[in-house]
């Protein structure tokens, strides 16, 4: 099968760019640990309230400028709500859902993860800039989906 020389150049360059892009993406994802959240722990979705650590949702300081937030998502709320941390804190979120699939998104950050019944989502973010960040559910979960929100205040 003949291919026009121009087309060979066009496809050769494009393929090369794609491969370089994939190598960079892979390097960032695995060597620099910037990959998307893929935690694999599971939980009985009917017994979230009785299972540690979700029997005591809340925020806990675990080091200097380091916090752990254990959070449950349920229609149409986040527990705990209205979290406050000092500027410069690294926050580790550990989350699960008590009913349907929810989303956990913090506007103006890269925090964006699905929170599914039966699965535990873990995601980490360092909050440098003070301000009030909007947390919202970004996966349709029912009639009140659009009011499912809370805030993270960085002081």
């Amino acid at each position: 099968m003949k291919m026009h020389l121009d087309e060979k150049i066009w496809l050769g360059l494009s393929f090369g760019m794609i491969m370089i892009f994939m190598l960079i993406t892979g390097y960032q994802g695995f060597a620099l640990e910037m990959g998307p959240p893929s935690h694999k722990e599971t939980i009985d979705p009917q017994k979230v309230d009785q299972t540690a650590p979700f029997d005591q949702p809340g925020i806990k300081q675990i080091g200097e400028n380091e916090y752990e937030v254990v959070m449950t998502l349920q229609i149409f709320s986040f527990n705990p709500a209205n979290i406050e941390v000092p500027a410069g804190s690294t926050v580790h979120f550990t989350m699960t859902s008590k009913d349907v699939v929810h989303g956990f998104q913090v506007a103006n950050t890269n925090l964006n993860a699905m929170v599914m019944p039966g699965h535990i989502t873990k995601i980490t973010q360092k909050f440098d800039k003070p301000g009030k960040y909007l947390v919202l559910c970004n996966e349709y979960c029912g009639a009140g989906h659009q009011v499912m929100s809370t805030t993270i205040t960085v002081k």
Binding site: M1, K2, H4, D6, E7, W10, L11, S14, F15, I18, M22, T25, G26, G29, F30, M34, G35, P36, P37, S38, K40, E41, T42, I43, D44, P45, Q46, I75, V100, V101, G103, Q105, A107, N108, N110, L111, N112, M114, V115, M116, P117, G118, H119, T121, K122, Y133, L134, L136, C137, N138, E139, Y140, C141, G142, A143, H145, Q146, V147, S149, T151
Partner: protein
Amino acid sequence: MMNSNKLEKVDSRDAKLSMAYFYVAFIALALGGLAGLLQTLVRSGKVVLPWGIDYYQVLTVHGVLLGLVLTTFFIMGFQFALISRTTGTFTNGARITGWVGFWLMTIGTAMAATMVLLKEASVLYTFYAPLMAHPIFYIGLTLVIVGSWVAGGSMIATYAKWKRNNPGKASSLLTFMAIINTFMWIIATLGVAATVLIQILPWSLGLVDTIDILVSRTLFWYFGHPMVYFWLLPAYMCWYAIVPKIIGGKIFSDSLARLSFILFLLFSIPVGFHHQLVEPGIDPAWKYIQVVLTFMVIIPSLMTAFSLFATFESFGRSKGAKGLFGWFRKLPWGDARFVVPFIGMLSFIPAGAGGIINASHQMNAVIHNTIWVTGHFHLTAATAVVLTFFGISYWLIPHLTGRVLTKAMNKLAIIQGIVWTIGMSFMSGAMHAAGLLGAPRRSSFSEYGGAAQAQEWIPYQIAQAVGGSILFIGIILVLIIFINLAFFAPKGETEFPVGEVADGAEKPPLVFENWKLWLGISAALILFAYTIPFIDIIQNAPPGSKGYKFW
């Protein structure tokens, strides 16, 4: 160019079958388009729906009617006409099979639609468990899929019969493309059929108590990505093999067109994880492998772009065009059959670039489930694909009904294309921008407790409503043209344009029709991409979830 004159016109019995599919498709366009308009109005914050109609109910109507019904019905009608025109009239048996498929799909659509209207199925068209709709909703969707298999089977049988009667000959390019698309659809829909029949239906009927969410989502997205290529490939058929004839040029290369379709068959399916990048429970290495496979599917689209512009340029130069871009002015800018699909092609450039961002592993976190994604597929599906479908309708409908597209209707069709471009620039542009600022998709109007960040999104939501209103005018224009072409346009003969290959071009190698080889490689890639992670998902499955009705 084909063997005999009898192929020039679609047989009137086959035409009737195609038209049946088109009637349903355009009714779906009218109702689904209205639902889309209502959504953008609600989300602007300025309009509240009367009679207790719920935003998410309207959203379900919009997604099911336009994403599933308009596309599948239009594509089936188009492919029946294509195969009848380029391979030969359907046998009575094959045509009856096509009608059985049509009625299964139509009954299924009516069942699902009834449940949505009764507010028993506000689960959106992705119907993610454990939100649980009425079982009749799922049975209806199953009938749509099964009906499409029956219709597809009729097409494959017609093609297979031609192959048996013409050993050693290459099939017509358009039939070949339609058969690739049909195979891809059947392989892909096995996933959604599996989750509905094995998991969701027994659970919604109360035969089992719980459902495994991640297995269901994985099966859904095994289907969900090739579904968008199932929409796109008929547009590519038009761009590759019909538009060259309309402008008076030649197909750049028959063989390369076939090669690009085979690459779509191979790389459209083993890529579903790129819709699940930020989900727990899936091994990150397999997410990345599927991201790489996703990027392979860029190659055939780049081949397509090259071929199309090569066709345009060589046509322009054959008409005496000078300079680097002189050929551009030689294109038939007064012919809606060309202009409308051409706008679709142009929109696929930013649409494709946005898609690359969406599939880009960690970059996905910036836009996942934001309204950026909605903006993206309104450029791909709702502009590139749909405008090409409209452009096809402007010659195919009159060809099938024995009428002609009048000068006035041609002009209206070009105006329609321009109206669509303006409306979509507002709507999709504002969606992309608001998505980058964090505005979620699939959410009713909300001020999020007065959050400052959410205030920034509202002007963009108003721009979306402006765009949505302009687009709805565009839909009204299409419906006027469709009704004219189906019932009122003057009687006459309309050409069914089928592109010819440039003189002296080589014959396409027969290896392209070695289906054991290509379906085998396709299956091998799917097994490679899914076997290990899927076993992992099942082995590490948590206890299942009960069903919920939260609307």
